[in-house]
């Protein structure tokens, strides 16, 4: 086969393979969520003001909650196959599909900004630290990474709001009106992951730098730029890329704490509120979206992997 085809074919095989496998995974996620949800005590219409039984019966009939659970499950899967996530129980006038369609793009924007910051601060910081291991730069980077990693986002967020919004007035303290409003929440969201990525990048690069072929390369007088690009990064980044995939999935599906703190209308809040409200269709909806995003992110990672490290290509593995 010719060169480009040779590189492309395994990627296509991998994608088809993953898409086929994702179906049982999603079915399993949907089923487990359904079972867990119905096992949790308390229902969507249990409130502090108890309703007369006749009214509860009307509501249950309206949402088919009066049917046997097996039938509800069948109905749910049937809807799902048609792409219908059903009506929300809590938000009486809205469908789960609409709720997610409105909230998910907001989380994606915020998550993408946070992801960019994660890569920038994490990989950049890690490289800086690995450049001169043991130097003050390395120690400083390590210290900030440890801090960033151990401070919970609600502390970081409050501190950022206090200093950069409340005192300095550089950024708005909350709300979602334009680009300026992304900075503080994205930073809050990114600091933890960035710290983790920085430590991983540093460790991986130092590890690679100690390898014999890199030492030989240096000894032969290759310029530092070549050493970094062709040797260190190419061999040192794959472990980092592996964790960036799931990290991207977590970031774009939203964070309860950050959305709550900055009043951002994203999807992260539903992972908590849908459960406390026992809004069954919404719980299922956000869980499934999360599962799809995780599957997709892992696929991207695998594709990137093959590109970065020829040994990992699925095709070559199969060829043996």
């Amino acid at each position: 086969m010719s060169g480009p085809m040779n590189r492309l074919a395994p990627a296509v095989v991998l994608m088809i393979d993953r898409l086929v496998w994702s179906l049982p995974v999603l079915w399993l996620v949907a089923t487990m969520t359904f079972v867990l949800m119905h096992l949790a005590p308390g229902g969507p219409f249990d409130k502090d003001k108890t309703l007369p039984p006749e009214i509860t019966a009307n509501i249950e009939a309206k949402y088919h909650l009066d049917e046997p659970v097996a039938r509800q499950y069948a109905r749910y899967l049937g809807q799902l196959v048609r792409g219908d996530l059903g009506p929300s129980y809590k938000y009486a006038d809205r469908d789960v599909g609409e709720i997610i369609a409105e909230a998910f793009p907001v989380s994606i924007q915020l998550g993408a900004a946070a992801f960019a910051l994660t890569v920038l601060l994490g990989v950049g910081g890690g490289m800086l630290a690995a450049w001169r291991p043991g130097s003050w730069i390395d120690r400083g980077a390590l210290l900030s990474a440890t801090l960033g990693f151990s401070l919970p986002s609600f502390v970081v967020g409050v501190l950022l709001i206090l200093v950069l919004a409340h005192q300095a007035h550089w950024f708005p303290p909350a709300l979602w009106e334009g680009p300026r409003y992304i900075v503080l929440p994205a930073l809050t969201l990114a600091l933890g992951p960035a710290a983790y990525v920085a430590r991983l990048t540093r460790a991986s690069l130092i590890d690679v730098a100690a390898q014999e072929y890199v030492r030989v390369g240096r000894a032969k007088g290759l310029p530092p730029g070549v050493i970094w690009l062709s040797y260190l990064l190419k061999a040192g980044l794959p472990p980092v890329v592996t964790i960036l995939g799931p990290m991207l999935a977590v970031l774009v599906t939203g964070s309860f704490v950050v959305e709550y703190l900055f009043s951002i209308p994203g999807m992260g809040r539903f992972f908590i509120t849908a459960v406390t409200n026992r809004d069954y269709p919404l719980i299922m909806g956000v869980t499934l979206v999360y599962a799809v995003v995780i599957v997709a992110a892992n696929l991207i990672v695998d594709l990137l992997y093959g590109w970065l490290d020829p040994r990992m290509r699925v095709g070559s593995e199969r060829g043996r």
């Binding site: 308390g42 229902g43 039984p53 009214i55 009307n58 009486a92 409340h166 909350a174």
Partner: protein, 527 residues
């Protein structure tokens, strides 16, 4: 500095210059004052703006500013004429006839008629609507039968539009507080044509037609609701042009936005109250929301009223305000201050000697031999503070060791319904400002009476009071009922009545904060 400015001008280029020109010209021509915008926070996304389905405070607050019903509360929470200019009650108290104003219009220009009320009420009661608050109209003839599916013919329900301006309501029993019910959102009129055209999406901005001081301009879910002044409002256009209600779940975030000048009005989180209490912008309003502990009276040791009395007498409620700091008002009686029939003289006040004596009478001198019991509450910081305080007080005064246990809200509610704990925490907020709403809670048939206490004498008093028009006589009936509830049988111990704490910008005038936790914005102006 200068080169940088040059650069900016060069980059902005012609578009900038043109923009500046347009801005200057339009400013010179229009010179209109900037719109008066009120910015406030709401604690959650309104789950719905369909007033047949709304049950929560946020939805109701928004709807109250969009709509007018037959009646509306004044500052003292008395029902006053609104869309109904007056009403007659038949001598037997069973028929209310509401006479409607003919000059109230929907925002699309159509007049508001009695038929819109009849349709709205029957839609509320239609089982297919699945309305939680359908029971508000259960006192109407055949309303319960229709809502529970025993009767399918809606025309037999006791509400009829006699003509465009006359609405006749037939009740099963005389209810003196009925004009308070007609001030509640679930009884507001509805447009059959629009609901049939748009289905459950009839409340979307651009579709929602209303008759109140504001119109729905925008609703960005989970983010903000924007209302705009209704120029055709029958009682005169509001002074403010726009209200922006931001969904801000975290009260500290709302407070920060208030401090940075991005909000004009915020509820104050309890932990922040000590820092703002002396500010001229601080406002505190007691609300009709009672907090109590209930006993499961069917199981020992709390099946003995003397034990329950002892537990009530042992609580020094004056400790609560310092613990909670939110302006909580300790109370021994159940009907809250600010409501008709409030009587602070009723109920068991703190009396440690009497508490110990009562417990000894019941067979537990100094708490000896008292079985292990657990007090349960739903997970919440305020509830924990109260539970721990009560635990310490009962230990100190009665010598009994009570375990405490908390559960997530829905799990807790399920437990209250199926297997009430020996001691449990709950609260109640008024749906309508009449003592019936608080007292009917503990009647034998009430689904909210988790104590499983039943007293035929109490039930009879509550039923009689609901039909008694004479205020003095009605007060006596409620006093007697409250004595049974809080002194004699003691299935519950009322602990305190809550308050609302706000910060309000001094530029805001005419804001009415009432004990029903509703924000009435039509009289607000910004100066």
């Amino acid at each position: 500095m200068l080169p940088r400015m040059h650069e900016t001008v060069r980059r902005a280029g012609w578009r900038g210059v043109l923009g500046l020109l347009v801005f200057c010209v339009s400013g010179a021509v229009a010179a209109a004052p900037p719109p008066a915008v009120l910015r406030l926070s709401i604690a959650s996304e309104p789950p719905t703006l369909d007033w047949s389905l709304a049950t929560d405070n946020v939805s109701i607050t928004v709807i109250e500013n969009l709509m007018e019903g037959l009646t509306a509360f004044d500052d003292q929470l008395r029902p006053m004429p609104a869309v109904a200019s007056r009403w007659d009650v038949s001598p037997d108290g069973l028929t209310y006839t509401f006479h409607l104003r003919d000059d109230v219009r929907w925002t699309d220009g159509r007049p508001v008629t009695a038929r819109d009320f009849e349709y709205g009420w029957k839609r509320l009661l239609n089982p297919a609507t699945g309305a939680e608050y359908a029971y508000f109209l259960y006192d109407l003839v055949n309303a319960y039968e229709y809502n529970s599916g025993r009767l399918t013919d809606a025309s037999q329900v006791g509400v009829t539009a006699v003509d465009d301006t006359t609405l006749r309501v037939q009740l099963k029993k005389p209810i003196v507080y009925f004009p308070s019910i007609t001030a509640f959102v679930v009884t507001f009129p509805q447009r059959r044509d629009l609901i049939e055209r748009y289905g459950r999406r009839w409340t979307d901005p651009g579709r929602l037609v209303t008759n109140g001081p504001f119109t729905l301009a925008d609703w960005r879910h989970e983010y903000k609701v924007v209302l705009r002044a209704n120029p055709a409002y029958a009682w005169g256009r509001p002074s403010i042009d726009e209200v922006r209600m931001y969904v801000i779940n975290d009260r500290s975030t709302a407070l920060t936005l208030y401090e940075t000048g991005d909000l004009d009005l915020v509820p104050l989180p309890p932990e922040a109250i000590p820092f703002y209490e002396r500010s001229p912008e601080f406002v505190r309003v007691p609300i009709l929301r009672g907090y109590y502990y209930g006993f499961n009276v069917t199981t020992p040791p709390f099946d003995d009223p003397r034990v329950r009395q002892a537990f009530a007498l042992a609580i020094d409620k004056s400790e609560f305000p310092a613990l909670l700091k939110g302006g909580e008002l300790p109370t021994n009686s159940w009907i809250p201050a600010g409501m008709f029939a409030y009587n602070p003289a009723v109920g068991l006040a703190y009396d440690p000697a009497a508490a110990r004596a009562r417990l000894a009478e019941a067979g537990y001198p100094a708490g000896r031999g008292f079985p292990a019991v657990t007090a349960a509450y739903n997970t919440d910081p305020v509830n924990t503070v109260i539970a721990e305080n009560l635990q310490a007080q009962w230990k100190r005064t009665l010598g009994v060791a009570i375990a405490i246990d908390n559960q997530e809200w829905k799990v807790y509610l399920k437990r209250l319904q199926t297997q009430p704990p020996p001691l449990y925490r709950l609260g109640w907020g008024a749906d309508y400002p009449d003592p019936d709403n608080f007292m009917a809670l503990f009647t034998s048939q009430s689904g909210n009476n988790h104590s499983r206490w039943s007293n035929a004498g109490y039930d009879a008093l509550i039923a009689r009071a609901a039909s008694t028009g004479d205020p003095a006589q009605r007060q006596r009936l409620y006093d007697d009922a409250q004595r049974i509830l809080t002194e004699q049988d003691v299935p519950i111990i009322p602990l305190f009545v809550a308050s609302q704490n706000y910060l309000i910008k001094p530029s805001l005038h005419g804001l009415r904060l009432n004990a029903m936790e509703l924000l009435t914005l039509k009289e607000v102006s910004i100066r």
